[in-house]
Amino acid sequence: MITNNDNKAIDRNVAEVEDVAIRFVGDSGDGMQLTGTQFSDTSAMFGNDIATFPDYPSEIRAPQGSLYGVSGFQVHIGHKDIATPGDDVDVLVAMNPAGLKTNLYALKPGQMLIVDSDSFTKKNLEKAHYETNPLEDGSLENYKVIEVAMTTHTREAVKDLGLDNKSILRSKNMFALGIVYFIFNRSMDHTIEFFEKKFKKKPLIVEANTKVLKAGFFYAETLELISTTYKVAPSEMPKGMYRMLNGNTATSWGLLTAQQNSGLELFLGSYPITPATDILHEMVKHRYFGVKTFQAEDEIAGITSAIGAAFAGDLAITTTSGPGLALKGEAIGLAMMIELPLVIINVQRGGPSTGLPTKTEQSDLLQALYGRNGESPVIVIAASTPANSFDFAYEACKLALEHMTPVILLTDGYIANGSAPWKIKKASDMPPIKNQLVPKGTTEYTPYQRDKDSLARKWAVPGMKGLEHRVGGLEKDKDSGNVSHVPTNHEYQTNIRAEKVKRVQNVIPEVKAEYNEEGDLLVIGWGGTYGSLSTVVHEMADEGHKIGHLHFNYINPLPKNTKDILKKFKKIIVCELNKGQFSMVLNSHFSEFEYLQYNKVQGLPFTTIELKDKFKQLV
C-alpha cells in the first residue's frame, strides 16, 4: 500500500512499500496487455512476488474508445507473499476516458491516477458517456491525478524517425510504462532487451519504442507532481530459477510433463472455447514431444476422439469450458463405463448457457460431479493457483492412468489467465506415473480383470496379439466382459465402479487447515479462490483471530480426514463463486455440521475486503 506523502520537493522521497497493485487500462488497441506484462516481468526479475490478471473485452475489435472496448491488465507486486492480483489498486494508468470511466471504481481513494490527457477529447468523452471532462470538473479531486500529454510527448520523441501516425500512436503505451518504471524505481533494461529480441528484423520499431520508453521515464523525473517514488523490495521466495506462468500454460506444461513421465504418447482432442482455448494453443506447439493435438468439429468429437485414442493406448485429454462440458457429458459416461483413462479439463467461466465467457465462476462443480446419466462417478480435482495448475494437470493424468477412469480437472478463468512466478520444475521432480497396460507376453485377458487394491482394470490395446476384446457403453459381465443384462451383475458393476473411485482416497494427500488447526471459524474453499481466501485468513489469524483456512483440491473423492478437520471449529463457512455447490456436497457427506455460505456470482473473484467484512461478523 502506498502511503500519502506531502513532500513537494523535486528531490523527492523514496517510500518503501510492502506491496502495490497497478492497473493499466486503455483501448483494445493501446497495448495494455504488453505494458502490463512488461511491468510484471521486470518486477519478477527484480525478485518481487507477483500476481497478474488480464481483463480484456470479449469483442475482438470493439469500436475505438468505447466502454466495452476497454482492455486492462492488473499487476500486484510485493515484498510480502502475493496470492492474488489484488482487489483495489494503488495506481491506475488510464490511456483514455473509457478506461477511466470503467476502472476508476478500483482505485483506492487518495491514490495515483495517471492519464493521457491528449485522449480526453470531446469525441472520446462522448464515447465514454462523460457529460463533462473529469479532468476539469473536479470529480477526481480525491485522487492524485497526474495528467500527461502522452500522445504529444510520444510524437515529439520519435519525430525524427519518420514513422507513420499509426506506429507512433501504437508506442505511446511505452511512454506510460516509462513513467511507471520511474515511479517504482525499475530498470528499463528488460523491456529494451525485449524489443531487441521481438523486433530483431525491424530496428526502426526497436528504436522508436526504446526512445518513447526512455522519454516517459525522463519526463517523469522532471515532473514535480510526482512527489514520491516507491520501492518494493524483493520478496523472500525460495532460491532457484523462476519464470512467470499463467494457469493455462501451467496446465499445458503439466500435461506435457505427464506425457514425458508416462512414456505414452499424448492425444488432445479439443474444440476452441473461451477461456480454455489457450491450452490448445500451447499444446499444438509441442508436436516434437510426441504430442498429438486434434482440433475437432465440435466438443463431442473432441472428447470422443480422445476416447478412441485412449482405447488405442494414448494418454488422452480433452479441454473445454462450461457449455462444452455439458456437450461432453454423454461421452464422459462412456469413458467411465468402459473404464478408460481420460483427462477432461474444464476451465470454468460464468454460466449458465453462454453466460459470461471471459469472466470467472465456479459454477460447474455439480455438473462435473453429477452431470451424466446413470450412476457415473468420476474423479474430480481442482487447481487452486496459476502455478499449481501444473501439478494438478499432472496429477489428473497420473490418476487417470493409474486408476483407469476419467478425471475431471477444474480450473477457472481467473487462475487460467492470471500469472504468477513458477519455480521451475524438472520432469524428474514429479512422482512417477504408472499405468495399467498389460505386461508384454500376456496371453489371457478379459477387460474387467482388476488390480486387487485400486480395482483399476487392466488395459490391453489394439496391436497386442491375442488380447482382442470388445468394450462399449452397454453393461458388461464382470468376468467375461460380454454384454450382460443380468440384474445382479449390473448392481455389482455399478458398485465396483463407484468403489474404484472411492479408493482413490487411499492415494491422495490428507488436507490440513492453514493458520489455525482448530478454533472459532473455519473458512472452506476449493479451486481458484485459494489466493483471496488465504490472504484474508492469514491477515485475520495474524490479528489474533482463531480462524483457519481449509482448501480443497480433491473433491471426488474427498480427502479421508475431511471430517476430522470440520470437527475442530465452532463455525464453518464455505466460500464459493457459485450459489453454494460445494457446501451441498459437504452437506451430503457430513450432514452433522452446519455450513454457512458466502457466495458471489458476478463473474469476478472475491475481494479481500468483502471476505474480511463477512468473516469479522462470525468471529
Partner: protein, 336 residues
C-alpha cells in the same frame, strides 16, 4: 516387420457371441462378408479395430473377434479418428447406420470425409430406425409411412452418396445388402485404399422397412436396375448387357446397344480415379439404373500423412528435446 503371410479364415474373426439380429436381416450377410474379406487383407488380426455407434448395425463389433468398441450414438467416426491418430498402423473400421451417420452423427460424418482419415466406413443404410422400432430416418423417402410419419414422411431424404461426394469423399462404393459376392472384394479394395473409404450398403430391414430396396436389389431385377461400375469398363447393364449410359449434355442417359446406331464405343467408360467428381456425383444421384460398385476412388493425401509430414518437420527444427529444455527456455530469472 513380419511380412510372412498370415493365414486366417473367416472363423478367426467370429467372436463367441451369439449374433442377435432379426432372422433374415442383411446384417448377417455383411458380417459374413467382412469376416471373409479380412483374411485377404494380409494384416495381423490384432491390428483390426471395429468401432460403432448406436443402432442395430452398431452391434457389429461384438460379433467380430477383433479389437472393438461399441460407442455412443453418432460418434463412431470421431472415436475411430482418435484410434487411427493414436496408432496409424491399425486398420480401423466403422460400422454405422443411416441414423447414426447422417442424423445424430451427421457432423462427424461430413468432417471425417472432408479430412480423409484413413478409415474404412461401412454405412448400413436401411432407410429406417430399426432399434427404436420403426421411425423415419434421414434416408427414409418422402411420403413414407413410419411410426413417426403415420400420414407420410414430410422430410426429404439425403442420398448418402451425394452427401459424401459433396463432402469431398475420395472413395465411395454402393452395394446391395443381399449380394455377398460383391461385398467381399469391395471391402478388400476399401482396405487397400489409402484414405477414407465409404461403402454404402443397401441393407434391407425385414421388420420395419421390408423391401425398401427390392426394386433394385431383387435377384430378378438386379441386372436390369443396377449398373455395376468397374473402373476402366463401359457402363453397361441389363440381363443382356445391352443397355448403357451416355452423356447427353449435362445428363446421363440410358441407351440400348444397336438401337439408333448406338455401339459399345458410344458408352461411357467408368473412370473411378478421375479427380473431378462431377460425373461421380451424377452417378451417385442416378435413379435408373442405380449405380453400384466403386463409384469413386481418388488418391489424395490423408490426414495421417499430412500430420506426419508436419510432425517430422517440426521435430527436425525443434530445439527442445524434453520438457526441461522447454521450461528453461525464454524468460527465466533467478531468485538468489
Amino acid at each position: 516387420m513380419e511380412n510372412t503371410a498370415i493365414k486366417y479364415t473367416f472363423k478367426d474373426f467370429q467372436s463367441d457371441q451369439e449374433v442377435r439380429w432379426c432372422p433374415g436381416c442383411d446384417d448377417y450377410v455383411i458380417l459374413r462378408s467382412i469376416q471373409k474379406a479380412l483374411p485377404e487383407m494380409n494384416k495381423k488380426k490384432e491390428d483390426f479395430v471395429f468401432i460403432s455407434g448406436i443402432g442395430c448395425s452398431s452391434r457389429f463389433p461384438y460379433y467380430m473377434d477383433t479389437y472393438g468398441m461399441h460407442g455412443i450414438h453418432g460418434r463412431a467416426a470421431a472415436i475411430a479418428t482418435g484410434v487411427k491418430l493414436a496408432n496409424d498402423k491399425l486398420s480401423v473400421w466403422v460400422a454405422s447406420g443411416d441414423g447414426d451417420s447422417m442424423a445424430i452423427g451427421g457432423n462427424h460424418f461430413i468432417h471425417v470425409i472432408r479430412r480423409n482419415v484413413d478409415l474404412n466406413y461401412i454405412l448400413f443404410n436401411n432407410e429406417i430406425y430399426g432399434l427404436t422400432k420403426g421411425q423415419f430416418s434421414p434416408t427414409s423417402l418422402l411420403e413414407q409411412k413410419t411410426k413417426t410419419s403415420p400420414y407420410g414422411n414430410t422430410q426429404p431424404p439425403f442420398n448418402p452418396g451425394e452427401l459424401a461426394i459433396g463432402s469431398s469423399a475420395r472413395f465411395f462404393a454402393r452395394l446391395s445388402g443381399n449380394n455377398p459376392k460383391e461385398m467381399t472384394p469391395v471391402f478388400v479394395e476399401a482396405e487397400k485404399f489409402n484414405g477414407l473409404s465409404l461403402v454404402e450398403i443397401m441393407q434391407n430391414c425385414v421388420i420395419f422397412n421390408d423391401g425398401c430396396f427390392s426394386k433394385y436389389t431383387d435377384k430378378t431385377v438386379r441386372a436390369d436396375m443396377q449398373v455395376y461400375l468397374e473402373h476402366g469398363k463401359p457402363m453397361l447393364f441389363g440381363k443382356e448387357k445391352n443397355k448403357g449410359l451416355v452423356l447427353n449434355g449435362l445428363k446421363l442417359e440410358v441407351v440400348t446397344l444397336e438401337e439408333n446406331g448406338v455401339t459399345e464405343s458410344d458408352i461411357l467408360v467408368h473412370d473411378a480415379q478421375e479427380s473431378d467428381n462431377t460425373l461421380h456425383l451424377m452417378l451417385a444421384k442416378l435413379k435408373y439404373p442405380l449405380a453400384t460398385g466403386i463409384i469413386r476412388s481418388v488418391k489424395e493425401s490423408t490426414l495421417g500423412e499430412r500430420r506426419r509430414d508436419k510432425t517430422q518437420h517440426v521435430k527436425e527444427i525443434s530445439k527442445f528435446k524434453t520438457v526441461d529444455d522447454l521450461f528453461a527456455s525464454g524468460e527465466t530469472y533467478e531468485v538468489k
